[in-house]
Homo-oligomer: 387 residues x 2
Amino acid sequence: MTDKLNLLGWTCPRPLQNYPTIVMGHGAGGKMMADLIEHLFAPAFDNEWLGQMGDSTIIDIGRPSSVVRRLAFTTDSFVVSPLFFPGGNIGELAVYGTVNDLAMRGAKPLFLSAGFILEEGLPMETLGNIVTAMAAACKKAGVKIAAGDTKVVQRGHGDGLYINTSGLGLIPADVDIGPQNARPGDAVLVSGTMGDHGMAVMSVREGLTFESQIRSDTAPLNGLVEAMIESCRGGPACPPPACPPGQTHRSAPTKRRPPACPPAIHCLRDATRGGLAAVLNELAGSSKVGIEFDERKVPIRPEVNAACEMLGLDPLYIANEGKLVAILPEEMAEKVLAAMRGHEYGKDAAIIGRVVSEHPGLVTAKTSIGGMRVVDLPAGELLPRIC
Amino acid sequence: MTDKLNLLGWTCPRPLQNYPTIVMGHGAGGKMMADLIEHLFAPAFDNEWLGQMGDSTIIDIGRPSSVVRRLAFTTDSFVVSPLFFPGGNIGELAVYGTVNDLAMRGAKPLFLSAGFILEEGLPMETLGNIVTAMAAACKKAGVKIAAGDTKVVQRGHGDGLYINTSGLGLIPADVDIGPQNARPGDAVLVSGTMGDHGMAVMSVREGLTFESQIRSDTAPLNGLVEAMIESCRGGPACPPPACPPGQTHRSAPTKRRPPACPPAIHCLRDATRGGLAAVLNELAGSSKVGIEFDERKVPIRPEVNAACEMLGLDPLYIANEGKLVAILPEEMAEKVLAAMRGHEYGKDAAIIGRVVSEHPGLVTAKTSIGGMRVVDLPAGELLPRIC
């Protein structure tokens, strides 16, 4: 099946046809590496920034006004196995993963870097198809690859290829989204079905077939986040947070949030490795709050549920690559939910729970049979190399 | 010998002592990965940006004035083998390599990201020592690691560890350094001895011993570049470039350089993979000029020369990790050379040649016996995995 997934239609340009596979010389800084850059990477990612061909790329950010003065910066390496899976491949993942990490701080993603570690023997066609997929993904997400690097390691010291992408974005002045910002009373939302990506990769690895194929949800979430932020603008302000006991507002040591904060999203996180369970635990820990949610409200595809049951996995712990968790003031929840459902990547969005002041750092779930359970951070390995 | 090089004195903190080596769970997004971040990466790289623990890191660039509005952005993956070598290790290389790529555009390096691809079975002590070395290197170079990522691949799919670093820097308004900027008449300088890094790595791989050990030159070059730029400020302006035949200055299509440009460095490049030969070829190609240099003026350590002769290698093609090539107006050359020699990483700097209008794209060398030879781009693999 992976063979079929590889058929993305890249045609090897003539100057590379002498090399059906990657060889060590493609990473040595000489003529062969220059050929690879000139005939594969440069035409695929063609843009004026990458075209500078300098040791680093110069990005003119104009004369930032008070509207934009904060950058978002992130990095992610991708080692997913297999390289192609139903619904996507390592190239799309590498673009969308980093785009999403920028979007989760409310940033508008602008530029990515791409660092390739190629294994000697990688078919040139595989690389060509992956690079083509990356270029299409960049277009879809509205970002440019502004810097790149290629290294080659000997056969047996890699797994085809690994890709690192780092990303740069600009954050609008009225946005303050961060993992410490959840507060009691906030609503907890998810943007869609959980577990699709992890189970799509697993199904290929395990050779599982289901009545309907499970496809990865890999997608750029910056457009969805923009729609969510926009839906908050101009709404009623939140009440000022209560001061700690014994302190007046003036003497309160933290001035992070203004007395009456504007309507805003408090936390966003894409539910990748460790799935929904890991994200909720991280947010509860960072914000020092408790989180309660209702398992029955978490959207899960029937085929994903069935596959999880067969393999003895809990879908709450399975990775997603195109889904986010949002925490925001309860009074904004319906409005933001409507904005999410109106977006192609938020059609199945749902309010699944709320933030509480009890049991800070702890996540609990109302189970399908009406009981209550603690949802812990996953301990160790669940599904290795899922991204 | 590599065992001895590994002794950098990192002590494993108690919470990690259950794991003498990296296991798959360290990359799975759960409790074990959180432990690794909390007890290894976070204390080593401790800073407020990394401390945000968001999907991406927010960097406040203030309200950039007209003085600074351009960012430099770059990426590099490091796959050097062995991980430790005389004079350095993969961690230092990963920091200095990216710092230098920023400095080569005249940028002040500020922030790095660090993406680790760890192989199952990597001794925790090795990782600890490398991370400690990276932290020290960041301090020396004056940069912060603002974003990070950890992935683990199964035994046999890596080589201990690979590190990707991306970098962000700010470019002063009066700086315009780029590979297209060389013009006929310019002087060509190198900042010191050539080939030290490549031969240091080779000597470990081949088990060679020399009377005096060859050590890698790995070093941050941002301070040296700053001194070079400073030495140009306030000097006499260059004459305006001649217009192409048939065009007046107004009608000339490129306005990149103002009519009488300020005294300035035109090109900088660190001579890594492919060595001095590759860099000079790239600059000649990008600027569409010829370059002539005198082999006898290129500083090379006697022990590096001897090792190259023994292995049949040409030192002009051997990688450096703490040396740069500079191209600048001839009238500034002595002044900049003096500034370089006054800096700890430029003591052996030398003027080695000049830019000519003849044979654009071609690099020629006056040989030690007085002849002339073409110095080509290296074809394929010379020394694999040198950085």
